[in-house]
């Protein structure tokens, strides 16, 4: 799925990027292609190597082999020129517990020689406002809740204007309002022309905010591309809501479809709706013909939908059903 684009149009590009910890390859020869201006979802189960990849991109750890270009420049060689243009949240927020939220941001801002001291206080205030922490600015971080620290971590990434934001699980620990705010924030950053690289294992979230995504599994990229590309790999389903589940299954079978077996307790009260699904393996059966056949057979159709495959289906298909962390 890797498209050979001129690298000027890419915000992040890796070739054969590998990181070994002893014998284990935490990142195993990945070729990431993140177009400029994209909101790029970086998906993968726990331990699949997302955070490790981000550390390599930001020059925190040295790659065992492979190369990285961020904003068109080789990393970590051009780190001093690239990183001032990158805002990052890596593996959760980290702060000095004995300093206030605002003092923490001021402290971390001094690390960036391109961040003017004259506007520091103002920029800190603005960043705090963007994540809704204005009222907790003077409070010691020791007394912050998990979600407040997470918000402060995001504020830290926003202290200066950025061309690229790398956010590792930005909504971890946030309340629903916070999650929604992060989605809006990502949208507004993207609207301003920044590229946003978000790692997550929340598929619904990635589906809502991303234009592109890559799926990692055990250190390798198993799929990458636009969101439509990724979903397109799956098969559409019909989904029928009806109290007459058994009859509906018979009708579908007569039309050559393979309905999924009934789920739920056998002594389910009959007045409750049953949901019958069946994959549409080819285009030979028009969906309106299915509805007509159901109605003709006296099936009380209360809901009918043709659904494309969800990202979740794809994710599970690509990374496996097992719950255990690989390796």
């Amino acid at each position: 799925m890797t498209v050979s684009t001129p690298s000027v149009d890419l915000a992040i590009e890796t070739h054969g990027l590998t990181k070994r910890f002893g014998h284990q390859a935490a990142v195993d020869g990945i070729d990431l292609v993140v177009p400029r201006g994209a909101v790029f979802g970086f998906l993968g189960p726990n331990g699949s190597g997302k955070t490790t990849t981000i550390r390599l991109m930001l020059g925190l750890a040295a790659a065992t082999s492979g190369d990285i270009r961020v904003l068109g420049r080789a990393m970590p060689q051009s780190l001093r020129d690239v990183l001032p243009r990158v805002g990052a949240l890596v593996e959760g927020p980290a702060f000095y517990p004995f300093l206030s939220g605002a003092a923490n941001l001021q402290r971390l801002d001094t690390a960036d020689r391109y961040a003017p001291s004259a506007t520091r206080a103002e920029r800190v205030e603005l960043a705090l406002e963007r994540v809704g922490l204005t009222h907790a600015a003077g409070k010691k971080v020791r007394a912050y809740s998990l979600g407040m620290k997470q918000r402060l971590g995001i504020a830290n990434a926003l202290l200066s204007p950025r061309d690229l934001l790398v956010l590792d699980e930005p909504t971890n620990g946030l309340d629903p309002q916070g999650t929604r705010e992060v989605r809006n924030l990502v949208a507004s950053l993207a609207a301003d022309g920044a590229t946003v690289f978000v790692s997550s294992h929340l598929l619904a979230e990635v589906e809502q905010m991303c234009t592109h995504a890559a799926v990692m599994s055990s250190g390798r990229i198993v799929a990458q591309g636009t969101l439509a590309d990724l979903r397109g790999g799956g098969i559409a389903h019909v989904r029928i809501r009806t109290p007459d589940g058994a009859e509906a299954r018979v009708v579908l079978a007569r039309l050559g479809l393979v309905p999924a077996p009934r789920v739920g307790a056998p002594d389910r009260p009959p007045e409750l709706d049953d949901v019958v699904t069946a994959p549409l393996l080819d285009d030979s059966t028009a969906s309106e013909a299915i509805v007509a056949a159901l109605v003709a057979a006296g099936v009380r159709v209360r809901g009918f939908a043709v659904e494309g495959s969800t990202l979740e289906d794809r994710f599970v298909a690509l990374t496996g059903e097992g719950f255990d962390v690989a390796q």
Binding site: R55, G59, L60, R107, L108, A111, T119, P161
Partner: protein, 284 residues
Amino acid sequence: MPSDLVVRPARPAAGWALLSSELSVLFRRRRTWAMLAALAAIPILIAVAVRLSSSPPAAGEGPPFLDRVTQNGLFVGITALVVSIPLFLPLTVGVVAGDTIAGEASLGTLRYLLVGPAGRVRLLFVKYAGAAAFCLAATMTVMLAGALIGAALFPVGPVTLLSGDTVAVAESAVRALLVAAYVTVSLLGLSAIGLFISTLTEVPVGAMAATIVLSVVAQVLDSLSQLDWLHPWLFSHYWLGFADLLRQPISWASFGDNAALQAAYVLVFGALAYGRFVTKDVLT
């Protein structure tokens, strides 16, 4: 963002902001204040104990200079420094120097400073400068607390130096500052050792303990006459050698020897810290 905030300067600033932030974080920490307060308590305890005791200490009894305290309060600071040098000063310096990199690593703020980007070499310099500033603050705290409590409890007047000459109070203050400078310089080698150890671990307490243990080991080795070939190379060798600064005329030989030895330690352990830190994977 308002337009005046979105302009990125074309050139990077010199980067003093990180140093001033380092100093302000260091000296705003309650731990730093607690250590300085403990150091200040040493001259106060000495002065009060001497004042309350019925018989003044005889010459050669107790730590050097103790017998002079009752005659002149200006000696309290110097006596307290002598008492603090073997353990209390290395203890506090070990805490600060051992915490430099490992403390940031354990908090996780190291990754955010580096992503800033602070620059690894610049961060090492800034961290070392912070530790050196603490050495100065620690020494000056003992000296100043000593001068104040000495002036409060004992007579103050012209000071009789070790050479028998008498100097005025102003001149004696200069001598006291010279002694403080000597002791500060003495601690710079240990700070560099602490900085290096701090790059080896993510556990600040481990780095602190190792630094403090090394300072004790060096002093033990320095006291074994079988190892006298080694003594001139031990960073603690000249720690108590500031008596030459209390003679008329001042002999600078020991100051120079001490400074040269400490500079060698700073260079060697600074280079080791550099070698370790620039290639280190930051995984916390």
